[in-house]
């Protein structure tokens, strides 16, 4: 088990090196000069050149890449080009907020999505099944900036139940997390329905039924347990995407998380900040995948980590 963990974490190293290199190279590849962007429309080229030198942007790509890697190994993520604060500080401010939002949204997905899928699977083809399917697909198909603004109009302005936007209290979390969860609820409901149906067709369920096991125990002990593995896989993917920053949700609800940070870093060509963001995202990706894989063992004792 321990050596398995070590190996998994070791796999993350080339991934990190890879994403950092791609970020550094792609910021070189696309047009846009961070120094010019910082100084704005009205600055002269000599001022821009001075700033470029000051920020070390005049060094070749490989030098900057190696520099970053060396610093990261020493535990230094560098400083943002834009506001010169340590990248680690900025990530420390934004990531917990995104984790809060993503965590709440994933909880909603679990609480709402799985029961919906189960309800649909117990009576396939019924009206309940079809209503759930259509409603969840509708949730999947509306862009979040539309649903978000509609929710604001209804729940914040007309009913006055929740704050319009921003962070602070738990009430601030309601609208953005629901908005963010909606498409994933649809996906999880569909996935739950189809995997439960698959499992229901397996021989062991028939055997269990024939042996007279109660339906309730059948549902929990056999069906859900077996259906959980694919559901968790998809849940992991969804969580990874949400932690990667729900750019649109965060923008609409003025939520100062990683998504908006990513857009800021891209639009301002702030490559040290972007390097920090992708490193965290890559680690999140590895971490979520690891958790998903470990959780397989919970549901399927046959899985061995070796």
């Amino acid at each position: 088990m321990f050596s398995y963990l070590i190996r998994r974490i070791f796999i993350a190293v080339p991934l990190l090196l890879g994403v950092v290199f791609i970020v550094t190279a792609s910021f070189d590849l696309i047009p846009g000069d961070p120094a010019a962007l910082i100084l704005g429309e009205f600055a002269s080229e000599s001022a821009v050149a001075e700033l470029r030198e000051e920020l070390g942007l005049d060094r070749p790509l490989l030098v900057r890449y190696v520099d970053t890697v060396v610093n990261v190994v020493q535990g230094d993520l560098g400083r943002s080009l834009s506001d010169r604060r340590p990248v680690a500080t900025i990530l420390g401010e934004t990531f917990p907020l995104t984790a809060q939002l993503a965590g709440t949204a994933i909880a909603l997905v679990l609480i709402i999505g799985i029961p919906l899928g189960l309800a649909a699977a117990t009576r396939p083809g019924s009206t309940v099944d079809n209503v759930i399917r259509v409603v969840s697909l509708a949730g999947l198909s509306m862009p979040v900036f539309w649903t978000g603004l509609v929710f604001m109009v209804i729940f914040s302005v007309n009913l006055g139940w929740t704050p319009v936007s921003g962070v602070g209290t738990w009430q601030h979390l309601i609208l953005p997390s629901v908005t963010l969860a909606l498409p994933s609820i649809a996906v999880i409901a569909r996935m739950t329905r189809s995997t439960v149906l698959e499992v229901l067709r397996e021989d062991f369920i028939r055997t269990a039924r024939a042996k007279g096991i109660s339906e309730r125990s059948l549902l929990w002990k056999h069906m859900l347990r077996n259906a959980m593995i694919p559901i968790i896989t998809v849940l992991g993917l969804q969580l990874g995407q949400m932690l990667g920053g729900a750019v649109l949700t965060e923008t609409v609800f003025a939520w100062p998380g990683v998504g908006r940070l990513t857009v800021f870093a891209i639009f301002n060509r702030d490559y040290p900040l972007m390097q920090g963001v992708v490193m965290v995202l890559a680690m999140v990706y590895v971490g979520v995948n690891l958790l998903v894989d470990l959780s397989y063992g919970l549901f399927d004792p046959r899985v061995r980590y070796a």
């Binding site: 100084l39 000051e54 506001d83 923008t251 609409v252 609800f253 639009f267």
Partner: protein, 569 residues
Amino acid sequence: MDVAEKEVLLDPNRTDRVVPARPASPHRPPADVPGAPTPPPFPEENPLRNLRTVFAALVVLALLAGVGLAQKTLTIARPTDPVSLDPHFETTAPGSWVFSQILEPLITVNQQMEIEGRLATDWEFIDDTRLRFTLRQGVTFHDGTPFNAEAVKYTWDRAWDEDRPGRWKSLAGPVEGIEIVDEFTVDLVARQPYGPLLLTATMPYTGVVSPTAAEEMGDEFGRGPVGTGPFSFVEWRSNDRITLEANDDYWGGRPNLDRVVFRTIPEEGARMLSLRAGEVDMVLMPTPSDLPGLEADPNFTVEGAPGVGVFYLAFNLEREAVSDVRVRQAVAHAIDRELIVEAILEGGGVLATSVIGEPVFGYKDMRLLERYPYDPERARELLEEAGYSRGSDGFMVDENGERLTLELLPSNGRSLKDREIAETLQEFLRQAGIDVEMDIFEWATTFELMRGATLEYDLNSFTWFTTTADADYTMYSNYVSTETPPESWNRWRYANDDVDEWLKAARASLDLDEREELYGMVQDQLAVDLPAIPLYGSYEVAALDASVEGFVAHPIQYLLNLHPVDIVD
């Protein structure tokens, strides 16, 4: 001799603007009026405004009955967070809105475009390269450091640091820096005679910083600046909010507000909904189409002023098609600029009458509506004169039968409705037989392309702000033939010897009448040569809750005067 008192600073022919500059008189009520609290924030955020008003009245009554004083907090929503609160690193409006509450320059321009003293009480030109300021005495910084000539010199020296120059240094022209005369007198010195010198000293970036705080904090100064202004810094939560509180010892009197909170709400719709829900008191850059409704609603007010920015459609004179003035004239005739202002901007902008805004010193009406009225048929005739003929599909074609196609690089999300205007321009030009292809990128890419030594587009649309409110700031860098990118901003590659000469003379002169006449001649010439078609002038507008009083919009978008603002329920 106080130059400002003797001479007219801005347009001498306009009495409404001509006011001798003198120290701002501390006009404010004798003391804070107790018992006019804002309602508590959360349960009050009810859309049923009538109920809310009744409830608020009850709360006020209850408080008047002896519950005590509530804080007056003004919450302002705007789209972006600043990068830094130190003008050394930050020269954009979102930064200036905040740091200009904390850091004060020696002099400033008020909403009527008159020069007012802030940390200087008097100023006069000693000679044509030297401007002398008498400083205000008895002022202390928020950290207790006394304000004096040293602090002024420290602030300017900091920006002129060789290793790490301030971001605004390149905006200050041939300025050399500050020389100390005595503890409360300084000279601002230029290398050569420089007409815009006085207005340079009004730039919000020149706000004087506390030398002790700046030394101690280093780069951290940008996360919590210390100055002499009416408000002092409390807290900055990135991309969420910046909180300021009243400076009890402000030399101009304690502000009416206790706190000011700047919230970052990027989505336009969410900003407007926050105002309607009572979550914020003031929205900067509101949705234009919502303004008429807000104005009609007694719960809200709208405050605006024509600004110093102009949105242009610029031609790249190096490109063959638009190097022909008849083609440029045809484009001007093809666009119904009045309709664009009315239907797209809907009160968020005014019809531009020159390449610089009306409040700017040196402005002259280019009479563009008379010269180039909307007339698509005239546009086609001009194109025919230029050698194009009408093709079968409605587009104009050249002698080889090639469709007249112009490539447009529009700014996107950089100024109000820029993308929408690009889309409308495309359609207006199509009606006149010109095919427009456009590339919409995010700003970083667009900006890089605009700054390039060669511009691979025929047309470029963007807004230029004359931040110093002096025509030189825009005219010199944009129209002198040698000021081409990337070093400067003559993006249209405009070259006219007369214009070069006039602009250089205007820059070197200290005679305001002479300067104004020269800039007038330049604008007349630009109306004929037409290197750019001005489309709309910026309109600095804020939507406010009706309880906010005393706010007057400033033509310069960087400036936000919150000192006299009050909240009265």
